[in-house]
């Protein structure tokens, strides 16, 4: 289905089954000891979190966001459920951390009325500007819980354009960011 919708890589919840071109969304760091770690105790604790699949730690809890730091990130992506909660104080703290992904989803927006969606577009513009100035990664996600709720790549592009975001630039930056965030966690058993 992802191919049909022109989506190269999907982010889905980890259900103990590893598939190609999927980045797994988990709610905490994976702690699966690898043979490499067992044979070399000098390896850092971040190596212990290495898995055979790429993953990103996603959370919507502000406490977990505040616990993160650029040197030892607790989470990779912070899901913004309410722009009211994502206030100036929180922005200042996020700015200091840097490199974190800020995710907004379309799923909840479907049931909102036109007025709220219009306001959301404006909030997205501001969030994108904030992300650019604070070296955070802006992430627009479908938030789909089923195939019917998936959003095609072309529709994402259209929404990004309405929010004054250049789709090409966005996908390029997101690709690089995902690669940099997920790559170091993958342990390839050779």
């Amino acid at each position: 289905m992802a191919n049909i919708l022109e989506i190269d890589i999907l982010g889905i919840d980890y259900r103990y089954k590893v598939e190609k071109n999927i980045i797994y969304r988990v709610n905490r760091k994976q702690l699966s000891p690898s043979p490499l770690v067992a044979s070399s105790p000098s390896l850092s604790s971040s190596s212990i979190a290495a898995t055979t699949y790429p993953y990103l730690v996603v959370s919507e809890k502000i406490e977990e966001l505040l616990l993160s730091s650029s040197s030892s990130p607790v989470i990779d992506i912070f899901g913004i459920r309410s722009f009211r909660d994502f206030n100036d104080d929180l922005k200042k703290k996020v700015k200091k951390k840097g490199g974190i992904g800020l995710e907004v989803t379309l799923a909840d927006l479907r049931k909102s009325d036109g007025l709220q969606v219009g306001k959301w577009f404006s909030q997205i513009r501001d969030l994108y500007k904030f992300c650019r100035s604070s070296s955070c990664q802006f992430i627009l996600s479908s938030g789909a819980n089923s195939i019917e709720e998936m959003v095609s790549g072309r529709s994402f592009d259209a929404i990004l354009k309405i929010c004054d975001i250049k789709p090409d630039r966005y996908w390029q930056e997101l690709g690089k960011w995902i690669e940099s965030k997920s790559q170091y966690k993958v342990f390839i058993n050779t």
Binding site: G114, G118, E149, A158
Partner: protein, 114 residues
């Protein structure tokens, strides 16, 4: 464009849903200018619509932000090409009635970039 939908809504309901959402987001004038029209709907949960190229981005956004959820499966400047593309993807989509949805050679009035 080919739109996949779920639930018990009929094809007229889908068109009305897209028009309503588009009007909410971009206004009635923009919706009328977009000329959203139902082309065909024979398959289960699949509807073919056409719109003007100028309003394409708005329509795509309205589809992505509609409830019940709709998915833009594919789009093309001509129905012939749309049929071809959907046929190739038929196996993946599991939309078993796609083959009978189109009449070959039918043209529509918009052209989307490949």
């Amino acid at each position: 464009m080919a739109i996949l939908y779920s639930g018990q809504t009929d094809e007229i309901g889908i068109i009305n849903l897209i028009k309503k959402r588009n009007s909410e987001l971009f206004g009635h004038v923009a919706t009328e200018k977009s000329s959203i029209r139902l082309i065909q709907s024979k398959g289960t949960n699949l509807v073919i619509i056409r719109c003007k190229l100028e309003g394409l981005d708005n329509i795509l956004s309205a589809i992505a932000l509609s409830y019940p959820p709709l998915i833009t499966l594919d789009m093309s400047g001509t129905l012939k090409r749309l049929r071809k593309r959907l046929s190739i993807r038929n196996e993946l989509t599991k939309v078993n009635t796609v083959d009978n949805v189109f009449r070959t050679g039918d043209e529509v009035s918009f052209a989307a970039p490949d």
